[in-house]
């Protein structure tokens, strides 16, 4: 076979695989698919700007249902078109949702502010709050929560309250707020994707509190509400990995990857493979995830800035690049997670004092996020402050079930190192 014929065959195989994947994805039209078809049939000139806005919203729904980021790009395209025809509040609001999902926080903030000026309701205020929370302006986020509560208490308010509580490390409070949010979602018969999402978030908070049974029950309820919901499947896989049931986790991640080859699934799969003693397979998956994330970042997308920065810290040669990406991430958002990423990247580059200074920013909110705590523990250990390292490590390991396999390994290793210097 000649080279060109081989290339053609290869291309046909790729196209065929893509078509099969698309056909599988579209075999049962979701409510988002039906909605998309409905609005597409009604597009026209400038006077159809509300239809463009609603089509954009339908693509957001599709993105949420499938976890595929490309649908956010479609949503953005239609929403911008709607705004070109006529500035309107609906398109502005949904565009801010798209920017939040794409981690374009400065844009999300600006667009959400414009939407709030147009119509200060619980939808627009909620997105503005999310943007402030993402960029680390907790004071403004809290002020907006108070404003939302006064305006219209309900699901939107409960969810934002929970997010703020979780951010501050109040996991119990966050759980209570999510219990209320899910009850409100059920009572008002909200769309199934919203109700299922609520259950998954609740489950993750049960897991953070070491209650694996309730976590699983919540994930299962999410799946009952929305069968094959990728977010619920992903969390069950995460739970399985945390339970040491690597083969089950691997199987779920592989299924998820078939429908959506997202780098975050691939990294999780790598972690589960590592846990299962398949280091070479794990390394292959990590390499591919790294390549996919690098391509995304090269396109100017910001969703993978943080995970890629953290991944690159694993490799000595990539540490400067990790720091560059962490600095970009910090420019995009100044929340505790961005501070943690930046601190960790500084640490990877041997900038211990800078790492400590930035890590303190991440810790200052009272977080109980194990990744942040483990990183800070490692930084303090390297600085020779064993006592602080022990305290942080103990907080990180308060619930072993909530740690990922790699976090457990990190916790074990640091614990062993600290033991060499005395009692833990």
């Amino acid at each position: 076979m000649g080279r060109s014929a081989a290339l053609v065959l290869c291309a046909l195989l790729v196209v065929g695989a893509a078509e099969r994947a698309l056909a599988a994805e579209n075999s049962v039209p979701s409510s988002a698919d039906v909605r998309i078809r409905y609005y597409k049939a009604r597009l026209g000139g400038p006077g159809t700007y509300p239809i463009y806005a609603r089509l954009g919203a339908a693509y957001i729904q599709k993105a949420r249902e499938t976890g595929r980021l490309r649908y956010y790009r479609e949503a953005e395209r239609y929403l911008l078109r709607s705004l070109e025809f006529q500035p309107n509040y609906e398109a502005l609001h949904w565009l801010s949702s798209v920017y939040l999902a794409q981690h374009r926080f400065p844009e999300a903030l600006q667009t959400a502010e414009e939407a709030v000026q147009a119509m200060p309701d619980s939808n627009t205020l909620g997105n503005l709050l999310d943007a402030h929370l993402a960029i680390g302006d907790i004071e403004k986020a809290s002020g907006l929560l108070a404003r939302m509560s006064e305006l219209q208490p309900g699901f939107e308010v409960s969810v934002r309250r929970a997010n703020l509580q979780q951010y501050h490390g109040d996991l119990e409070g966050a759980r209570e707020s999510f219990l209320l949010a899910c009850a409100q979602a059920d009572a008002h018969a909200l769309p199934v994707d919203a109700r299922a999402w609520c259950q998954v978030r609740l489950g993750s908070l049960w897991l953070a509190g070491c209650d694996t049974e309730r976590a699983e029950a919540a994930y299962r309820k999410g799946l009952e509400l929305f069968p094959a919901y990728p977010l619920a499947q992903e969390h069950i896989a995460e739970l399985r990995a945390a339970q040491g049931r690597a083969p089950e986790a691997i199987q779920i991640y592989r299924t998820l990857l078939k429908a959506n080859p997202a780098p975050e699934f691939r990294l999780a799969l790598a972690d589960a493979l590592e846990l299962n003693g398949r280091a070479a397979d794990a390394a292959r998956q990590r390499t591919r995830a790294r390549r996919d994330m690098q391509r995304s970042v090269a396109r100017g997308e910001r969703v993978y800035l943080r995970p890629l920065a953290l991944l690159l810290t694993e490799d000595k040669a990539s540490a400067p690049e990790a720091l560059r990406l962490a600095e970009l991430d910090w420019k995009n958002r100044q929340d505790a997670y961005a501070a943690d990423t930046l601190a960790w990247a500084h640490f990877a580059n041997g900038h211990l004092d800078e790492a400590q200074r930035v890590a303190e920013k991440a810790l200052s909110i009272g977080t109980r996020n194990p990744t942040i705590l483990l990183h800070a523990a490692r930084i303090y250990h390297s600085l020779g402050d064993r006592e602080r390292a022990r305290t942080l490590l103990a907080r990180a390991a308060a619930c072993r079930e909530a740690l990922s396999p790699s976090e457990r390994a990190a916790e074990d290793e640091l614990g062993a190192e600290l033991l060499q210097g005395g009692k833990r």
Binding site: G44, E90, L231
Partner: protein, 292 residues
Amino acid sequence: MSSGLKRVTAALIWLPAVLAPQIYASDHSDAPQAAGLVRQDANLSDLHAFVVGPNLVLSLCSNVAIPLSATSYVFPTDVTFEINLDVDSAVSPADPFGDGGTILNPERISEDIVFRIRFRADGSAQVQRIVKGTVQGDPHLVSFFAGLRDDPFIRGLRQGRNIAAVVLEVPLSAVLSGQSTILIWATSKVEDFDGPFQDLVGRSLRSMFPENDALNKMHPRQHLRRAGARPDVMIYNTALPAAFPNGRALTDDVIDLVGDPRTLANDAPFPSTNDIPFLTTFPYLAPPHPAP
């Protein structure tokens, strides 16, 4: 160098893979929206009716959520606006509820004249007149305007805001049919994936309140029988000056005139006049605020 110290030193230089953080967890904390957004471009906000010289002026406003950046307005093609006039319903001047009179046979309210307004994809308007047999004259359009204007609602929250306005001017003599009192109401309708949306506006500050929300989806003649409510229509005795609740002049400060505590409570800074002077000539509504 001990093996333990070696590990610590190594950690200063680069990080062992085992310390790889949980970097894969997807960020899915963005809250989904609880419900769809109301079509603000079909949401009616104000209806004014007053007489200028020989003409009846009807002004219908919609879309309270126009962003400040808008400098012009394109009406959506899929919304149907209707301004309805009942020119022969019997009305007593007795006015126990501040409605401008009492409709004697609420279940017989019917539209004798309908101005149906739709917009083409290029933004131009299409006004259809539907006139029933009881009307003797020809209620043709003397003037017509559709576009962005300053919001004429005299309310603190609405200062500095623009609105989508449709203003018609028709000969009063062509509208009247044996009596000077007419009933006026307007509707908007739009089909959507989630079901049809319909809004209604008649007398100011009625169907905007939650307890009267059901009125928006019914014909005014059904309001009493099906919802136990007085019909949400504007009563206007054109022989008398327009002054709320008799018709509605642009200068009427209905927030104060109605005095509902829910709207009074957030009326700061409690204006009693519009933030931009109204025009003395057609289309009477003040020009829009420029983009900031």
